[in-house]
Symmetry: C2
Subunit: 331 residues, 2 copies
């Protein structure tokens, strides 16, 4: 039997364990053009919140009663598609389940970096790393000696943003929650400075760590952190809007300090980024990231849970801030 994690009811706010259920389903037969993938790693992403919401988003909502949508990494175990052979390592939209039968269109890519851990295809060499790379270079446009500030700085996207910014010559400052994550930022991800936003006066900490203000703010949180940061933008600053982890719910729509005057006075820019608009540059980005990993210039941290039973609470735990680095479920 194939064990699966289904979405059984739509959450209000952040999804909790009760919104999911583990079931056993019979193995499916392969149709023409399909492949069978044995999932080795399942991804857990903050963006899943959006995929299961019933409000307008950039993705079709996951249907109630269906396998939770997720990127996974695994091996092809059976194939009726000429482009895939048994033993191919693939990453794609194979869902929170042990095994998937899927058309080739579900594949994001064949994994070429067989010298590197397979799980990296879900994090640093997957949408997190590619998002960090393309959003930072595309919208952030980092220049040497600029100050780059990153929220969720020790997370899967943030830790890559900080390191790539450093490689491109920026001074990097991370914001993270708690002393352990601050330590990770400084010791593992090479930030020049790191701020524990739970430790008190964030504005004072920003003034201290960013004395020449912030040229690039890579925003994974929105909320009170962003509100403080926007008061410290440098002239012609760029704000990459990549996530809103600090906002529990958008109904009722939350209010915050108006941004217009900051943007006008500083001639600054805020722009949203969603990786799925940039798939044409995915391969080139992964190749660059893999090269940096091989040469030891890009470190990563994985937070690995075990077994399909870990799925239901995995997303809620992410929003509780439990993880250090990329949260993955190993089957």
């Amino acid at each position: 039997m194939n064990r699966q994690c289904l979405l059984v009811c739509r959450p209000e706010g952040i999804a909790q364990a009760k919104n999911f259920e583990i079931v056993e389903a019979p193995h499916q037969k392969l149709g023409e053009g399909e492949i069978r993938v044995r999932n080795h790693f399942l991804s857990v992403e903050p963006a899943m919140r959006g995929w299961i919401a019933d409000k307008g988003n950039y993705a079709e909502p996951v249907a109630i009663g269906s396998v939770m949508r997720a990127l996974t990494a695994g091996m092809v175990t059976e194939t009726r598609h000429p482009g895939y052979a048994v033993g191919d390592a693939v990453t794609g939209w194979f869902g929170w389940q042990e095994e998937a039968v899927a058309p080739a269109s579900a594949v994001v890519r064949k994994i070429a970096e067989t010298d590197l851990p397979l799980s990296l295809s879900l994090g640093l060499l997957g949408i997190n790393g590619v998002t960090a790379h393309l959003a930072l270079t595309g919208i952030g446009n980092p220049q040497p000696d600029e100050t780059l500030l990153v929220s969720t700085a020790a997370g899967a996207v943030g830790s890559a943003v900080g390191q790539i910014g450093k490689l491109l010559g920026c001074r990097t400052v991370g914001i993270a929650g708690g002393p352990d994550k601050v330590k990770l930022c400084l010791e593992r991800f090479g930030y020049d400075a790191a701020i524990d936003y739970k430790a008190g006066d964030l504005r004072a900490a920003l003034a201290r760590t960013c004395p020449e203000d912030i040229d690039i703010y890579f925003d994974n949180t929105a909320g009170a952190i962003s509100d403080a940061v926007l008061a410290h933008l440098a002239l012609r600053a760029r704000v990459v809007v990549c996530g809103t982890a600090a906002i529990d719910r958008w109904d009722p729509w939350p209010e915050g300090p108006r941004v217009e005057r900051h943007l006008l006075v500083k001639r600054a820019r805020m722009e949203g980024f969603v990786i799925f608009d940039h798939m044409d540059r995915y391969e080139a980005s992964v190749a660059q990231l893999a090269e940096w990993v091989r040469t030891g210039q890009l470190a990563y941290e994985e937070d690995i849970l075990s077994g399909i039973e870990a799925c239901p609470d995995a997303l809620a735990g992410l929003y509780r801030g439990e993880n250090k680095g990329k949260r993955i479920i190993r089957l």
Copy 2:
């Protein structure tokens, strides 16, 4: 004697007549390198609010007791600078006064378009028109058949934005206050549709007039108008943040619905624009605008007050929405 309008105390919120005073000063003697300019037209701009605030802005605050900073248009009547001759028409930072003695650095430009009204150098062929042109083309990046929405659509900047957008192939929708301005938008400035924001449900009006949502929002107001517009952005929309006319004061800092989710879901961009960053493109822009005026492709409306006595209340009246088109004081 030279009559001048001085800033005598800093306003809270919008400047009122009591913040200014008309005085008579003796004529100054010309120093080496200076010119004497007889002002024929004084400009009144929404941005003056920022110039006289004591809070951080993009310009040094006007000192209490000094002549109110303003762009003017006039004629050189005496010169000790080799680059200027008596009779030259100039526009520059000559202040709210009848006559200025100033260094050449106060000149924004010599007015080459002597076939067109001198007053245009303060509006359509001045910072308003150039702002409209460069901000719309630079940040807005209008493409044929896109929907361009403009707030303060009948104003000095807005009316130019709408018409230039139309010339560049956009479908244009204006937002203005009251039936007279809506009529101006439709009959004089060629908007495809216009909305009276005072007439009721703005969101419903936006849904009706912008059925395919808004590709470019040229924002001169912020506030409730912008909040409604941001809920109707199209994918990859651009929001030009050019002014915040609807915000009375920034202390305490006003709150509004958060923008991050709109920007993320729509991969949209908000960016501030201040003309003084773009002076290298000023001449080329004026030349283009003048050509459009000559060929009848760009209409304008002027709201002309008379005499230096009109200065003190002129800015407050602008924020009361009294003017139709560019507000100017004729001396």
